[in-house]
Amino acid sequence: MAGIQSLKIGVSGVRGVVGQSLTPQLVVGFAEAFGTYLDGGVVVIGRDPRPSGEMILNALVGGLLSTGCSVIDIGVCPTPTMQHAVVDLGADGGIAVTASHHPAAWNALKFCREDGIFLNQHQAEELLNVYHQGAFVQRPHDALGRMGHDEGAINRHLTKVLYSADLDAISSLAPKVVIDSVNGAGADCAEGLLQKMGCEVIAINDVPNGRFPREPEPIAENLGQLCEAVREHGADLGLAQDADGDRLAIVSEEGEAIGEEYTLAFACDVMAETRKGPLVTNLSTSRMIDEVGERHGCEVVRSKVGEVNVVETMLAVDAIGGGEGNGGVIDPNLHYCRDNLAAMALILGGMARRGITITEWKRTFRPSAIVKEKLPCSAGMIGRAILALQRHYEGQTLDLTEGVKAFFDGDAWVHARPSNTEPIIRVVAEADDHATARWLADEAVQVAAQAIEG
């Protein structure tokens, strides 16, 4: 059972537990499938610092070279750095070796196309078909791919972020920042970026060795050490990265983990200051983005959950900014990827220009409480559960783009949808106060559970 549940092959990539399901055979198979799918060309590979990264990297390189693809290894780096590098190097695709916010025993492959954006659902399905058919391209000995290394990808990425940052404002404020890099991919580069932007930096968990001192997901409950450090050092704010440098969470000057939803709200508040056009986020993200839209007079467009869904909607509507409520900020002026370095630049610049503290900035938003729940649900029961929720919320305003999203008085809402990666239904509810949000989430879970039990 553990063996079965420890492998996820889906449209968001391949994820498994090292020493169980994520074997060299599986990885070379997917590398050959991706090389076959691309039909040759250059593939950029970046990885987070998990100890299993080198095993997976080697299997990927072997598989890709055999299909005639050449590989540029950019080493340990944030996932957005890899996405930038694909574009910068004119590559034909990229692979991020990272299980992102999942525990250290996991690792995963995320495939990205020549525009530095992850495969969308249709492309991912094509790749899976190639993998399952197993008829991979095999090039003869004199037509194999070549292997190269690029040590410059992180610096190019940092340079772009620095170029976009309001360095005058940030350096004149010179905020004291505690950064918790969870010993992940963002460790060295985040510290360097913050220093270059003129911050006083205190770094914790800043050795990129993949030995995570906390769960790498930057949610409030995992940030106790950071909150304490912010208080201890009297810092202006704390920043928490995940393992692969795409998501960011903020701790206030009071040492409070304000919740990862505020990351996107603040970043969008900043992007909408000077740019004209729509904002894009997913259906499960806080209504604070709608407040930002009202504040700056921009439309907010909602997509299905998943980075590539947000990105493709952003491209379709020519968005000025976007991202996901889990702390993943996308600044299209830099690249269409979730990037916590870009988020740091935006938020520090906005804070400096506003001349306010994190707590004060938080208070510019209407009080909001978000409750996230999940419910195990076998694949066969998902349709039934979603239908029951639709019936239950009949009469409310509904959005049926992905699962069921129901809206209530006082701008409260609940969103229930099947997970893309696990056999569960995810429920997110938001209201002015925690009790209402909790009640809404519990109600949805109960309705779904009853439907599943029959």
Partner: protein, 460 residues
């Protein structure tokens, strides 16, 4: 004709000698990660050294092997491109539990292979190889958890340490004083970066060709006379004292005399033995059943016994250990110097023959002329793998030759007479039956070989 059946069989050999296949056809990443995981499982974790020759597929293979070994909990140390003998020495001298050489030796560039060696630097013997194959076929490989995976190490100095180990066995002063001019053809293989420098350090004037590891093999990487025309021309043009040719991974050595002649790789062992026995290294000479009787002549000159084994490097190495041999080797030009290591080592062979030339102060053609001259004829018959052993058995039953005084069945069939012998055996590496015949008279050797090729073809 017969080539049809060879093409019809898939170019893959999984044998006790390792795994050998054609890149782009049978030697797939999947096969490679499976075999390396099988090896990692078989050694039970620990440090494993890997090396490769210069084939363009080497990198692809090395990455697959590295991944598979790491996954089983092995610590991989990558020696990069170096002679297989350097890998074997490094394994023996270190705490490593084994090694994998990524090389198809003398096979052409389409091929590549994994050769597995154990903690003493010797290739797996048949029993050990059988165990490895059982692990491979069972497909239940060791899987180390994430926090037991070791980072990959590098060791760029193994090639240099090997040269040093060879140098220590030579009379460097004598070689220096001789001021020899040596031509060398490295076939753009694993010795390219090593041999020219090694010779120069011995005070030789070096004329090197095909010493760029980035370039493809200029000819088949087998140092047999048909592949030595370039070197022969070079020796003549440069008026060198001798020419030497490596194979792709530095286990076999071919010779060209100062007259520009290629006497055949059988002389490599005889000359090296002349050096080693002449300086008084104790012990017998070990060689295989397919090697020239000239070895007996050299050995008896020094009152030594010759021990014959089946064909295969591991048989030579293990017999050399067991019998405390002074020297061991094969007529294919692969020589073992027990004072260095129990590995086939073409750089060591080259060093010892240069040492012999310097010490005896005579042209290499004269040193060769002193060795009784036999004609050895090597033929092969393409044979589908499923027929190899049965055909050999049928052949054996049909034999009734009056000249035969002894029949040896240790490895195929060897018929031995007073003045001639013929050895018919199944190749370990290719779907072929090999026929090797030797006699003092050239016509007799050719007739003998042709006769048994005809017999084999008739059966097939």
């Amino acid at each position: 004709m017969s080539s049809l059946s060879a093409e019809a069989s898939r170019p893959l050999k999984i044998t006790i000698g390792g795994v050998r296949g054609v890149v782009g056809e049978t030697l797939t990443p999947d096969l490679l990660v499976n075999f390396s995981q099988a090896f990692g499982t078989w050694v039970g974790g620990g440090r494993v050294l890997i090396s490769r020759d210069t084939r363009p597929s080497g990198r692809m293979v090395a990455h697959c092997v590295t991944s598979g070994l790491i996954a089983t909990g092995c610590e991989v140390v990558d020696l990069g491109i170096c002679p297989t003998a350097a890998l074997q020495l490094a394994v023996r001298q270190s705490e490593a539990v084994g090694g994998i050489a990524i090389t198809a030796g003398h096979n052409n560039a389409r091929w590549n292979a994994l050769k597995f060696c154990r903690d003493d630097g010797i290739y797996l013997n048949p029993r050990q190889a059988q165990e490895l194959l059982n692990v491979y076929h069972q497909r239940e490989f060791a899987k180390a958890p994430w926090n037991k995976l070791a980072p990959v190490g590098r060791d760029d100095a193994a090639g240099e340490r090997h040269l040093e180990a060879v140098r220590e066995q030579l009379d460097v002063d004598a070689i220096r004083a001789a001021g020899l001019k040596i031509a060398v053809d490295c076939t753009n293989g694993a010795c390219s970066r090593f041999t020219p420098r090694f010779l120069a350090d011995l005070g030789c004037e070096v004329v090197a060709i095909n010493d760029d590891p980035e370039l493809p093999f200029p000819h088949e990487p087998r140092p047999t006379p048909p592949n030595l025309s370039q070197l022969r021309a070079l020796v003549s043009a440069a008026e060198a004292d001798a020419g030497f040719a490596h194979d792709a991974d530095g286990d076999r050595l071919g010779i060209v005399t100062e007259a520009g002649e290629a006497p055949g790789e059988e002389y490599t062992l005889c000359l090296a033995a002349e050096m080693v026995l002449g300086r008084g290294d104790p012990g017998p000479v070990v060689t295989n059943l397919s090697t020239s009787m000239a070895v007996e002549d050299v050995a008896s000159k020094y009152g030594r016994e010759v021990i014959r084994t089946g064909v295969g490097q591991v048989f030579i190495s293990e017999a050399a250990v067991d019998h405390g041999a002074a020297i061991a080797g094969e007529g294919s030009g692969g020589i073992v110097f027990p004072r260095i290591n129990y590995a086939h080592d073409s750089i060591a062979a080259l060093g010892h023959i240069v040492n012999l030339m310097a010490e005896r102060d005579r042209p290499i053609s004269e040193l060769i002329a002193e060795i009784p001259r036999y004609t050895i004829v090597k033929r092969e018959v393409v044979c589908p793998p499923q027929r190899a052993y049965s055909a050999l058995e049928e052949l054996r039953r049909g034999i009734d030759a009056p000249w035969v005084t002894e029949t040896n069945l240790d490895d195929g069939v060897k018929l031995i007479g007073e003045d001639r012998w013929v050895h018919i055996r199944v190749s370990m590496t290719e779907p072929r039956i090999r026929v090797i015949a030797e006699a003092a008279a050239e016509g007799l050797a050719i007739d003998l070989a042709e006769e048994y090729v005809r017999r084999a073809n008739r059966l097939l």
